[in-house]
């Protein structure tokens, strides 16, 4: 046999072995996402909202509490593009500045609920047994209440105020994440590479954090964006009902609530906050849809 036959791949590494050029996963993701126009537009809108939340108070044409007693309940005009409310305060400025409050409360509530939900879901799914039953039954109880009712009950117990609204919204966010993560955990923990991790000698927490959790994250991203939308709606509703921010703070829901009294004479006070809430929740939902489609390997 010639020497050529004797060479084994352990000695030789030729171009037949070279891998194709690394396709950046991130690039592919971005390309796919850009194909979805509604999602892109929603993302742009949300980014604008975030900018408003951060810089709103510097950009607002009027001060939030600045009362213009000459222009009470005025409709949209050149000076006040979205009109004024019953105290003569500029609605546009109040909504702009109020973005921070509304968005911040919704985001922090959702984040808190997500983190807690993920932890509970991972534990329930991985360990099973009585812990699983306990956590799932608790979630079932929370699930059986309509979101708003539950939130009202919690706020009624804790008392009004933005912090408590955040707590209430966080609480009813937990079950959906716990359930999703638990399901994903159960699936992933059966994977061969998790068994491999055990056979190498990984401790449980390492298996959970390094091997199981990353496989479940995908299922959560989409739900997260949707829940932010729900949280905004819920926080606004609570404020509308009088449980959230007080009258002076520029909160979207509170503004909606106050405007009720002037529905016949000055509908613009209700219209603009209402449209803003509607469009924001829609944007989050469409973003969630777009993300779901982008992450789905079967769709192009």
């Amino acid at each position: 046999m010639s020497d050529k036959d004797k060479t084994t791949s352990v000695d030789r590494f030729d171009e037949a072995e070279a891998l194709p050029t690394q396709k950046s996963r991130r690039k592919e993701f971005v390309q796919k996402f850009m194909k979805r126009k509604t999602a892109v537009i929603s993302l742009i809108f949300i980014v604008l909202l975030l900018l408003a939340a951060i810089f709103g108070s510097y950009m607002a044409p009027y001060d939030v509490d600045q009362a213009d007693y000459n222009n009470l309940l005025q409709g949209p005009s050149a000076q006040h593009i979205w009109g004024t409310d019953e105290f003569g305060r500029d609605i546009f400025s109040r909504l702009l500045v109020g973005t921070r409050l509304s968005l911040a409360s919704a985001l922090s509530a959702t984040i808190a609920g997500t983190v807690l939900g993920i932890v509970l879901g991972l534990i329930a799914g991985y360990y099973g047994g009585w812990i699983d039953s306990l956590i799932m039954r608790a979630c079932d109880v929370l699930f059986s209440f309509p979101d708003i009712l539950l939130a009202i009950a919690i706020v009624a117990v804790l008392g009004p105020g933005i912090t408590n609204v955040i707590i209430a919204v966080a609480v009813f966010t937990v079950p959906s994440f716990a359930r999703i993560i638990r399901g994903a955990t159960i699936t992933v923990k059966e994977s061969l590479y998790v068994e491999v991790a055990r056979s190498i000698g990984c401790k449980n927490w390492r298996i959970l954090w390094v091997h199981v959790f990353p496989g479940t994250v995908q299922s959560v991203i989409v739900n997260f964006t949707m829940r932010v939308g729900t949280a905004i709606l819920a926080a606004s509703s609570l404020s509308f009902l009088g449980f959230g921010a007080n009258v002076t703070q520029p909160d979207w829901g509170a503004m909606l609530s106050q405007g009720r009294n002037y529905l016949n004479t000055a509908p613009h006070i209700v219209l603009f906050p209402g449209i803003l809430i509607f469009v924001t929740v829609l944007a989050f939902n469409l973003l969630g849809d777009g993300l779901r489609d982008t992450l789905d390997p079967r769709m192009n």
């Binding site: 046999m1 010639s2 050529k4 036959d5 060479t7 084994t8 791949s9 030789r12 030729d14 171009e15 037949a16 072995e17 194709p20």
Partner: protein
């Protein structure tokens, strides 16, 4: 002179990938006569399954197309048949059995329903008569208790039993040609022996022509009279079985035969073919095997060789520059 059943001429099948068409199978020509078992060997990705699906016209309609060639069955080009005519041929004149018998049967239907459905599709008989035929055909494939099997669901049967049922279904209308796509790959070796024995019996009794598609060289050595070797969507060699194993001409065939562990050969290390099969979308120019071939020359990388006859028993072909027009006077210098 055996009756020619199938004559495939210059078949070319393409698949759509990312808005462009890639060729999966190219310039494939072969024939099958009555009563012979022809082996189609190659590793995964070589195009053997695509070839058989092209013959049966079972490819997905939107993302694939047969862009060239003819498939003559009894002299008639079935690629030109419409759906109705094709349905008459499938199952009746040409039957196919697949690799995973458990997955080929509908898990929600009893076996009786599935076989009877197949029989009634091609025969104008009563249900009772069809049931009797189903019983008979199950018995003929060696199932010990046909009635119990007819009443079972697929998950209640073992892999070997399922494959027998598949063969029974395939043979129920007494086709002239049977295409078997990796029929025993998913089965244990002792069950494989039973199924291969069964298929040989079918060939003997009914003079059926069989196209045996597999990657297992042992199976083709035992069963087939003639072997076709495929690589990267092309036929690279064709020869009667004894000649192929005794003196393979194409370097790929040589490498393949050498790299298979043989029972009883007492070898401690195997020669092997370095590298791997090229991706469909990025096929090298010239001979598709050149990147892995130890004899590759410049001309191999520039022009793809044609499939030409090899000096031998008259029905050997090889797609290699080394054997192009080999008249037998060339010394066997290339064989190691």
């Amino acid at each position: 002179m055996a009756e020619r059943l199938l004559d495939v001429k210059n078949l070319r099948t393409e698949f759509q990938r990312d808005k462009s068409w890639v060729t999966a199978v190219n310039e494939v020509s072969f024939h099958i006569d009555r009563g012979e078992i022809v082996g189609l060997v190659g590793e995964s990705g070589c195009g053997k399954s695509v070839t058989s699906l092209s013959v049966m016209r079972l490819l997905p309609p939107k993302t694939s197309r047969i862009s060239e060639g003819k498939v003559l069955f009894h002299g008639k080009d079935i690629l030109k048949d419409n759906k109705k005519e094709m349905k008459k041929i499938r199952g009746r004149e040409i039957s196919m059995i697949f690799q995973e018998p458990m997955n080929s049967l509908n898990p929600c239907m009893r076996i009786s329903k599935q076989i009877i459905e197949a029989i009634l599709l091609h025969n104008d008989i009563s249900k009772g008569e069809a049931h009797r035929r189903a019983f008979d055909v199950l018995k003929s494939v060696g199932i010990p208790d046909p009635e119990m099997t007819l009443n079972s669901y697929p998950h209640q049967l073992s892999g070997g039993m399922c494959q027998r049922v598949m063969i029974a279904m395939a043979m129920s209308c007494e086709p002239e040609l049977l295409i078997a796509d990796e029929p025993t790959t998913a089965l244990d070796v002792t069950i494989q022996a039973q199924i291969l024995e069964l298929m040989e019996g079918i060939k003997e009794k009914r003079n059926t022509g069989i196209l045996m598609i597999t990657h297992d060289l042992g199976v083709v050595a035992e069963m087939c009279s003639r072997i076709i070797v495929m690589y990267a969507g092309r036929i690279v060699e064709e020869a009667p079985v004894k000649e192929l194993f005794a003196s393979p001409k194409h370097p790929y065939t040589q490498g393949l035969i050498e790299s298979v562990p043989k029972l009883g050969s007492d070898v401690s290390s195997l020669p092997f073919i370095p590298g791997s099969v090229p991706d469909l979308a990025s096929m090298p120019k010239g001979c598709k095997f050149a990147p892995r071939c130890k004899y590759a020359m410049d001309i191999c990388r520039q022009k793809e060789p044609d499939l030409t006859p090899v000096y031998g028993s008259g029905n050997r072909r090889c797609r290699c520059v080394l054997h192009d027009g080999d008249k037998g006077d060339k010394k066997e210098e290339v064989k190691v």
